[in-house]
């Protein structure tokens, strides 16, 4: 049976088990005087039967599916003659893939050596045995467990309690997925990074001034490890993030202040949703806008006032990417600032107003200083957003790893390089591909610590006024 059919079969059996279990509990209840004399409602007896039917059999299915490929594979490889391994230079994976191709495509097997055809047939039969064995095992498991539970149904059985324990465990599993995700990220990024650092020294990576991974894949390239200096990427990332923050922080903060302290509620109700639209636009749209409209505009402006005499001006500029990214982050900063400004107690404002301060004086001298930790937290979160933003820079910042602070020149960023290195075919044993994971590790560490500190600061700030 196909896996999907089997899963559906388990599901259907579960439903049947529910119905059977439920009706048995109802039948039993007639003997003892009605449902109220059962320990639990009939629903729970049905649910218990269904859970016992589906969960063990599904686990069997999952474990089997996870390992059967590997087991069949090693069994096939073990039966092969020694010359077979030599023919592919010891690359058993390649060999197995050839066998697999022969087994699915009988027409292609004519040119294959005999041992391969034999192995392919062997593979085919083992696969079908595995499939049938799995089907039998899963169905037996489903039927067996449900019959055991079914036979145990009696008025004293604490069905509800047991069902609730399963429910609770399921909820716990779901919430622990967050931890699993974090572990998954750390493990996947760290593992490949360690492989990368075995090829390229971390010192060269962190402090090298030249980034040209494309050349490093050529075997005859001299000093190929020297091409993985990530400093130009770091400066490029910081330059763009800085431009974005210079736009977004004052604008977002002032927007929040204007909307919460000056604007009438009617204007606020109109403008706030409009700014939220800005936050909801996908980054790829911003990227398109930056590349198509803003970047040429900035280049033309630069050329028209003759800046190119002093600075190199590129059609893909850090300024364009940073500017558009700044616009994108404005709503983010403004809503975070809005939260922290509103958390400042009214009594503080009243105190200042009572002394005869003007509104702006209250804001500048009382509200902002009081809200400063929260605002700093918000800025750090915004910085983390800017550093990790990908599409805008991919589309508007360019690929040239220039070590420059000139905002009109083209720079590249960590995220751009991750995308460039990983889009298309990858070889997981070349430093070029692995470098992306090392960059990912850097990105993860930096954004994680920024987030951690920012959330910590914001939390402390909230507690202060709770």
């Amino acid at each position: 049976m196909e896996s999907s059919v089997l899963v559906i079969a388990i599901f259907v059996l579960g439903i049947i088990a529910f119905v059977v279990g439920r009706s048995r509990s109802v039948a039993i209840s007639q003997n003892v005087g009605g449902i109220r004399f059962l320990n639990s409602l009939p629903f729970y007896y049905g649910a218990l039967t269904a859970l016992w039917c589906a969960i063990p059999s599904f686990l069997v299915f999952a474990v089997w599916s996870l390992f059967d490929d590997a087991i069949i594979r090693s069994a096939i490889i073990a039966t092969l003659p020694a010359e077979a391994a030599e023919s592919v230079g010891g690359n058993l994976n390649l060999l197995f893939n050839q066998i697999y191709n022969v087994s699915v495509d009988a027409a292609g097997s004519e040119s294959a050596p005999d041992y391969m055809v034999a192995a392919a047939q062997h593979l085919h039969s083992m696969q079908s045995i595995s499939r049938w064995a799995l089907t039998g095992l899963v169905l037996a498991c489903a039927l067996g467990t449900s019959i055991v539970v079914w036979s145990r149904i009696n008025p004293q059985l604490k069905a509800r309690y047991q069902v609730e324990r399963v429910f609770r465990s399921f909820l716990f599993l779901c919430s622990s997925l967050a931890i699993l995700t974090t572990i998954g990220i750390v493990v996947s990024v760290l593992f490949e990074s360690i492989r990368f650092f075995a090829m390229v020294s971390p010192i060269d990576f962190l402090f090298g001034l030249e980034w040209s991974p494309q050349m490093a894949i050529r075997a005859d390239q001299e000093g190929s490890s020297g091409s993985f200096g990530a400093i130009p990427l770091f400066t490029g990332t910081l330059l763009i993030a800085l431009i974005a923050l210079i736009i977004a922080v004052p604008c977002g903060l002032m927007t929040a202040i204007f909307l919460s302290e000056y604007a009438s509620s009617r204007i606020r109700d109109i403008i706030k949703p409009m700014l939220e639209v800005l936050a909801g636009i996908p980054t790829v749209v911003y990227g398109f806008f930056a590349a198509l409209t803003v970047a040429p505009f900035i280049r033309d402006m630069g050329l028209s006032i003759g800046l190119d005499q002093w600075l190199p001006i590129s059609s893909e500029s850090a300024l364009a990417a940073g500017l558009v990214m700044g616009v994108m982050i404005i709503p983010f900063v403004s809503s975070l600032s809005d939260d922290v400004i509103n958390a400042v107690p009214q009594s503080l404002r009243d105190g200042a107003l009572g002394l005869g301060s003007t509104r702006s004086e209250v804001i500048k001298q009382v509200v902002i200083p009081a809200a400063l930790p929260g605002i700093v937290g918000g800025v750090l979160l915004a910085a983390s957003r800017a550093i990790g933003e990908t599409m805008i820079v991919v589309m508007a910042a360019g690929l040239a790893a220039n070590l420059t602070l000139n905002p009109l020149d083209s720079v590249t960023t960590v995220t751009v390089q991750i995308v460039t290195l990983l889009v298309g075919d990858q070889e997981f044993d070349s430093p070029k591909t692995l470098a992306a994971f090392a960059l990912g590790l850097m990105l993860f560490l930096v954004t994680l610590s920024l987030n951690y500190f920012a959330l910590h600061i914001v939390k402390k700030y909230r507690e202060q006024y709770d």
Partner: protein
Amino acid sequence: MTSPNNSKPLSQQAALVQKSLAKRYASERRFKAYGLASVLFGLCALLVLFVEIFGGGLSGFKTTQVALTLELDSDVLEVYDATNPDEILAGNYTGVIRNALKERFPDATGRKEKRALYSMISVGATYDLRDQLAADPDLLDTSIDVWILADDDIDTYYKSLSSVPYAERMSDKQQQWVQDLIDKQEIRTIFNTRFFTSGDSSEPEMAGIRGAIMGSLLTMMVTLLLSFPVGVAAAIYLEEYAPKNRLTDFVEVNINNLAAVPSIIFGLLGLAIFINLFEMPRSIPLVGGIVLTLMTLPTIIISSRAAVKAVPPSIREAALGIGASKMQMILHHVLPLAMPGMLTGAIIGMAQALGETAPLLMIGMVAFIMDVPGAITDPATVMPVQIFLWSDSPERAFVEKTSAAIMVLLMFLMFMNAMAVLLRKRLERRW
């Protein structure tokens, strides 16, 4: 304050205050102006963005056609039995169209000019012709007047004629021919249905977003089916069951941090775990959906927790006090009451996932795929990635397609956000 003329002279302090007032009010006005300027800056950016995209994208919904008289000669077509699907499939429609073009523009002489002439019609026209013949076999050996699909260069040039003509890829001769077509009213633009019915193509005039839309739908389906139940379950666990201990704190810190981790990191996770370790195929909505699930899960958990928290404790006590078990309390009371809030959070999370590009690039959803995917295991691309791909294409005609695709994507997003707002308004409960 009254003017100093008709009242007692002010005290020294009051006079000082009075003196500084003008300056202070000026500063007040300046401050307010900064605020207003910031708001206006944001709104202007929004306006420019929309004008730019809608201005450029509207023409992407139209396509240019040329009127030709085609002789469906069975010898030229090499189709003798129009009811035979094999023959229909192998027919030489290009020849028919070329003959018609030669007929229409006899002044095209020489190889170069002829090639220029032929290039004015899209290859898509041959498919249209084939479908037309297959649908009506009686057309064989007749002469028909049809509007056929023009090439993207013609399309771009013709559409740009009303403003700044874009003729970089047009020869003088081609421009003359177009002018001739215009004079005889044998060229027109109509609504581009192909844009919504076909998949990606390397020919801009034939490219459509159906594949991307289907890919997005399938991916979103996977994301929704995984992230909503899991997110709600996690939120309920954390709010209703979780003991106050370090493990729970750790889970909370993790969720909050994950919500702010750059999306591309989730792409790396997907690549390393699902593609490399589990050897799942690349470019499929299933993997894309799983990656986006991991990405949106923190958002959904956080908003679902807020919704659960908003259910007043008195309802819980009422249920427990009557002898409901905790699970009954949650399923009968807390969950239904928190559902609108949870759904709002889920829609917002889905909108975020729908616009997400970077992690999908990592798991290979950038492949050039012409077929419209039909299952979650078919290779597919999604709307934002399609936009990225088109915006990267050198053909000028893809610019308006990109804008048009962005418009479609924004429509979807606005629809989703409007739904979230409506849901919040309609089902909001006041305690």
